[in-house]
């Protein structure tokens, strides 16, 4: 694996260029351009606000600004997570032309797919920061956790992305499976709700490695409390494990890519 990381570093110009191509091509011939980066988070936030409003009606409480802020803070990383996994999964098949004809470290394709989504994430994050400032959410020292949470999220999506990209090269079923899972994953992940709502069942929900990250985002940005450290280390270990397994599998399967597309 050290060799492939070395190769990846040697071809970093290529990684940037492929990432740049993904971004450029996505917004080519579109009127809204980069504004599209905001669309998915906005839709998720709106859906979340509706759900939260429903909760507040049921519970007889009022929908407060902190709830809206909490949903928004989770929606942006969730949008990144979903679209980068979706995009990375199809990245190798979409670049079959290059995979079969020109040699390059193939990890570049899923990684570039995720990087290009990360640029969208950054755009949305900046807009979100401005909104949170307007909503007067406030700041605290807990914000230093944000890069850690983002890093774990990126590691996890990268691991899943490279694993699924290789798998979908051999089986086109993977793409549809991923599509189904991603569509309904939001119900199994605390984006619209908090895990505490489930009482003693909360730990079961936290087994989803994305859940501690979502809880963490609300904690550090909105509630100004530390993230759930134990669960966060579980997430980190899960992400690292996924990444290592994915890299191993990818490297083992790579010699067969060109003849298996």
């Amino acid at each position: 694996m050290r060799a492939s990381i070395g190769e990846l570093l040697a071809r970093r110009d290529l990684l940037y260029t492929i990432t740049w191509r993904e971004i450029k091509v996505k917004y080519k011939q579109s009127v809204m351009g980069m504004l599209w980066a905001l669309l998915m988070p906005i839709v998720i936030v709106l859906a979340g606000v509706v759900i939260r409003y429903g909760f507040s009606l049921l519970g007889g409480t009022r929908l407060n600004a902190a709830d809206v802020a909490s949903v928004s803070v989770r929606a942006v990383p969730w949008a990144f997570c979903v679209s980068s996994i979706r995009f990375a999964t199809s990245s190798l098949v979409a670049n079959a032309n290059l995979v079969t004809k020109i040699y390059m470290p193939r990890e570049i394709f899923p990684i570039a797919a995720i990087l290009s989504q990360f640029v969208d994430f950054l755009v949305a994050a900046v807009v979100l920061a401005v909104l949170l400032a307007v909503m007067n959410v406030g700041m605290s020292v807990q914000l230093v956790w944000v890069p850690v949470l983002v890093l774990i999220l990126v590691l996890l999506t990268t691991g899943l992305g490279i694993l699924l990209s290789a798998a979908s090269l051999f089986f086109r079923d993977v793409k549809y499976l991923v599509e189904v899972v991603l569509t309904f994953a939001i119900f199994f992940t605390p984006v619209f709700y908090d895990v505490q709502m489930f009482g003693s069942w909360a730990p079961v929900l936290m087994l989803n490695p994305v859940a501690p990250l979502m809880e963490g985002f609300t904690a550090v940005v909105v509630a100004h409390t530390p993230p759930p450290l134990l669960w966060l280390s579980y997430s980190a270990a899960f992400a690292l494990g996924t990444f290592l397994v994915a890299s191993f599998v990818f490297e083992r399967l790579e010699p067969y890519f060109a003849e298996s597309v």
Binding site: T17, K24, V25, L98, T100, I102, F170, A258, S260
Partner: protein, 411 residues
């Protein structure tokens, strides 16, 4: 060769016919085997076949090496292994130095991006750094001749423009080892000339080149040594001219009589058939002998021979009728042997002989045998093209006269 630029040592590659996997039941054991077992020491499973078997060769630094062989002989597989796209099933393969491949030169293009953006994209895909591309950008654009359209998305390009841009980028990668696969047939005549010039320039700069082509003329012109592949095995390695000769000799088949035909051409041979000579000098005398066998009686026959060049361009044809033999008749079980004597006023190149059996009057063909024989005309650097019109220089002198003053009409 003390330090070869690339070497193949006992390389095997197997492929599978049909779909890769039919079911999960087949995939999962195969997948697990792949994960556990190291590559190598594999045997042939049902439906698998060897695309390459025990291929060994070295290419020295700065050498130009040709690979020839019929379609499906495994030439492209070797190139894919060399460029790292695929890995050999068994055997070792080493490439020393930065390598680039002139294969599928436009594969990296994205239709929605402009020519300028694609030059960067493709250049970097082919192994240049961003700084390299920036430095060579003007040269690439100038080579492609697409200055006017460089900011147009390449999806609006014609296929010729597309290919020219691809070649222009690839030709400026400046690797240490270059792999070339049949890319010189890009664009119009002028661009092809440019590509050949560029190839020669690359060759003379000391780059190691592996060249795969069906264009035997190009192989013999560019490569000192060549390798002949047949069904995945190395048949011959040596000086290009000899390997090409070997290829052309092996390619010559004799046909056996098909049972359902009443009359058939059974053999086409060059000069005296016992010497399998395939290389001739310009102006040499060549005899082409055509043998015809009849199972049922046929009348009003004429035997036609034609010569086409490597791009199937008709160079010449003649027939027994035009040469003064009247309508030929064959009875049941009779055979006919005609020998045509030609003077080869041809320029250097590869030529194929086609033979036809026509009906005397209506030109209806009873039988035809395309590329029945192939021969090679060598060593006349004074002319290019197909015809050798035996040029001599009869005058080449300078004149000087007082320049005439021409009055230009004023508008």
């Amino acid at each position: 060769m003390t330090d070869p630029a690339l070497s193949l040592d006992g390389v095997y590659k197997k492929f599978r016919k049909g779909e890769l996997y039919d079911s999960l039941r087949e995939f999962i054991p195969g997948f697990l085997r792949r994960m556990v077992r190291r590559p190598g020491r594999e045997t042939l499973a049902p439906r698998e076949f060897w695309a390459l078997q025990d291929v060994n060769f070295d290419v020295g630094r700065g050498e130009a090496f040709g690979i020839i062989g019929a379609n499906g002989a495994g030439k492209s597989t070797i190139l894919k292994l060399l460029s790292g796209i695929m890995r050999p099933t068994r055997g070792a393969l080493r490439v020393r130095g930065r390598m680039s491949a002139l294969i599928e030169v436009s594969a990296g293009f994205h239709p929605d991006l402009t020519g300028r953006e694609n030059i960067f994209l493709n250049g970097i895909i082919l192994g240049m750094s961003r700084a390299d591309v920036k430095r060579r950008f003007d040269a690439i654009v100038a080579f492609s001749g697409l200055e006017e359209f460089i900011d147009t998305p390449v999806k609006r390009y014609s296929s010729g423009m597309f290919a020219r841009l691809g070649f222009a980028v690839a030709a400026h990668v400046e690797p240490e080892v270059l792999i070339v696969d049949e890319v010189l047939s890009v664009g119009d005549y002028l661009f092809q000339q440019k590509c050949l010039e560029r190839m020669n320039q690359i060759l003379s700069s000391g780059v190691t080149v592996v060249f795969v082509s069906h264009n035997l003329r190009a192989v013999s012109a560019l490569c000192g040594r060549s390798l002949l592949l047949e069904r995945g095995r190395v048949v011959q390695i040596g000086p290009s001219s000899e390997v090409i000769k070997g290829y052309l000799t092996r390619g010559r088949q004799t046909r056996s009589m098909e049972s359902d035909r009443g009359i058939q051409i059974t053999d086409v041979s060059l000069s005296s058939s016992d010497t399998s000579q395939v290389t001739f000098e310009t102006d040499a005398v060549l005899e082409i002998t055509v043998e015809v066998n009849a199972r049922t009686p046929h009348q009003d026959l004429s035997v036609v021979i034609g010569i086409v060049d490597d791009s199937q361009y008709a160079v010449f044809d003649t027939c027994t009728r035009r040469l003064g033999a009247g309508p030929l008749s064959l009875g049941a079980g009779e055979s006919l042997r005609c020998t045509f004597r030609l003077r080869l006023r041809l320029a250097e190149g590869t030529y194929h002989v086609n033979a036809y059996l026509h009906r005397y009057v209506t030109d209806r063909a009873f039988d035809r045998w395309l590329s029945a024989a192939t021969f090679f005309v060598g060593g006349t650097p004074t002319v290019r093209g197909v015809a050798h019109l035996e040029p001599t220089l009869t005058r080449c002198e300078k004149h000087s006269s007082a320049p005439e003053v021409v009055a230009l009409p004023v508008r």
